[in-house]
């Protein structure tokens, strides 16, 4: 079944004719994603390798059913493009761009909330229901169908862990990249809620990092609501306070968002925390009694 994305999800690419947009559109198509339309202002009426291109999202939705959109749009213009998609009634929005101003991110989240749009990111690698539909930039070959749900704040580290799962024979149901920014749409709790309901998902791997309170909130939620096994891996144990580790959110400020605090919260929620990335499959074996 998977969550958020399904085999028949119809996807729009905003910024389809750009360098990034065109490259990843090909990758998504080759993964099997139903890319049904692209938007590129000034290029309405053209097509990109058979995919119709529109001047605006409003024009695209009058001709096609669009379930989700992904943005390959430079950060300064991302807010307008996101508003455009939300206003056109698109219900899932994947915000790839990094460096979107935080005030723009807040504005996008408020507008999305008022219209009932689910936002993934910004600064995410995307989301994939393995074998069915991939909306993002993750390498195709690691995302094979299976029963493990994965939710992560970071990209390559998530591929690393999914790569380890694949190597150990674990496929994935749905993998969600929350994004590395301070203000993002979907959070751990939202995704855990869906994965808990999803029949395909047998266990969940949560890839967190230092900074913020998303992991602590996830732990609270798991304690009260999640019956499936959850394995966590957290990056940033060795990071000194006050240094921002790449991601806008990955910083220990004023004694908050520490590795230790997060581990404690997870352990109190019965979540096993792996010390090393490659340990995750073994933890899963144990949890699933394999």
């Amino acid at each position: 079944m998977a969550v958020y994305l399904f085999a028949d999800t119809q996807v729009l690419v905003q910024g389809i004719t750009g360098k990034q947009g065109s490259f990843h559109t090909r990758q998504m198509v080759s993964y099997g994603t139903k890319i049904v339309a692209g938007v590129s202002p000034g290029k309405g009426g053209q097509n990109f390798e058979g995919i119709p291109v529109y001047h605006t999202v409003a024009a695209a939705v009058t001709e096609q059913r669009i379930d989700a959109s992904i943005l390959f749009i430079p950060a300064p213009f991302a807010k307008d493009a996101a508003f455009e998609a939300i206003d056109a009634g698109i219900k899932i929005l994947v915000l790839l761009p990094e460096h979107i101003p935080i005030h723009d991110a807040m504005a996008i989240m408020a507008f999305a909330k008022s219209r009932g749009t689910t936002v993934v990111g910004p600064n995410t690698f995307g989301i994939v229901s393995s074998g069915k539909c991939k909306i993002g930039i993750m390498p195709n070959r690691f995302f094979l169908p299976g029963n493990i749900g994965v939710v992560s704040r970071s990209g390559t580290l998530c591929y690393e862990i999914v790569g380890n799962l694949t190597a150990s024979g674990y496929g994935t149901s749905t993998v969600v990249g929350l994004g590395g920014d301070r203000v993002v749409g979907l959070n751990f709790t939202d995704v855990l809620k869906e994965l808990e309901k999803d029949r395909q998902t047998e266990a969940v791997v949560l890839v967190g990092e230092i900074g913020g309170s998303a992991e602590e909130e996830a732990a609270e939620f798991i304690k009260a609501n999640v019956t499936k096994p959850v394995i966590a891996y957290l990056a940033g144990k060795s990071a000194p306070p006050g240094k921002r580790m790449g991601h806008a959110g990955a910083i220990i400020e004023r004694g908050k968002g520490t590795f230790e605090g997060k581990v404690k919260a997870f352990e109190a929620a019965g979540v096993s925390v792996a010390q090393l990335p490659f340990q995750v499959p073994a933890f899963l074996d144990k949890a699933l009694k394999k």
């Binding site: 408020a110 704040r153 970071s154 998530c158 690393e160 959070n187 990092e209 990056a235 580790m245």
Partner: protein
Amino acid sequence: MKLYEYMGKELLARYGIPVPEGGVAATPEEAAELTGKIGSVVIKAQILSGKRGKAGGIIFTDNHAEAGRFSADLLGSELNGYKVEAVLVEKKLQIERELYLAITVDSAARNPLILASAKGGIDIEDVPEEELVKMALDVTVGMQPFVTREVTRRLAVSDVVAAQIADILSKLYRLFVEMDAELAEINPLVISGETVIAADAKITIDDDALFRQSALPLVEERTAAEKKAHELGLSYVELDGDIAVMANGAGITMATLDLIQYYGGAAANFLDAGGGAGVEQTARALELLLSKNPRAILINIFGGITRCDDVAQAFVDVKKNSGIPVPVVIRLVGTNEEKGREILLAEGINAYKLMHEAAQRAVEIVKGN
């Protein structure tokens, strides 16, 4: 980007928020002259750090000669690890009461948050939770009168003070939005007679929005190497260890650092080369690492968009052009992995497949095993 106090106050004044009479001085003469003009003043070292009083960065005086001497001592010296390049000379306030007022971003709630306290002048972290006034702002409606009414009610101030705080909050929110601030903090907000004045200002501008805040002066907090990395589009943080690290992706770079620590080593830096870095950018990143004279280099590439052969080629290029005088441990998997491995093998390097094995080897090298 953090702003110096004097810059923050210039912004406050521009938005109509009362600040003390005063000016910024880059020389002892300017400081003395301002003191002569204003009379009874406070002189504050301009550094991007709090706790300046304890460190000797603040004096009160009404003597212009003393002002000059004090500033001469401070200017060019180091305070709390920061070089003092300017002092702020301001009229001394009659302080009846100090409050705290700030607008910041509540990441979890995804909206702006007003923080206020009837106790100001101390670190907001030291204010007990129950005395802290927190009020979420909906960006679609902004700072409405009902919001300021509730904030001033909870601060339990008099009507005349409440009206001024309501006005300051409205202006501060406009500044917060229009200047793309992540934090706009007034601490203390001073009640002096019937007047409310911002006695200090801490404003942080969102780095990602600097492209549209080009009127702001750039405040540089980074080291030379960090600055260079930024120009190269790399995410780079200097650390205290001796193993230089390069990886692609913030999370995996952090995890690489954690592994080094796990095996008993210490990383010299955090360097995220990003996804999709090509030969040229990777080469520049390597040169940056070498410039800090590490005892070993650990490269951890999980190729998604990044191509393993590009990274290998960059390594070979740098080695040929400038030489690499320290041991290098490389982990390569993902896109074009085989091609990358071949290039490295030709240079006598056998790339690792697993990141923890690579990290362990790097630590062993530094420890002399």
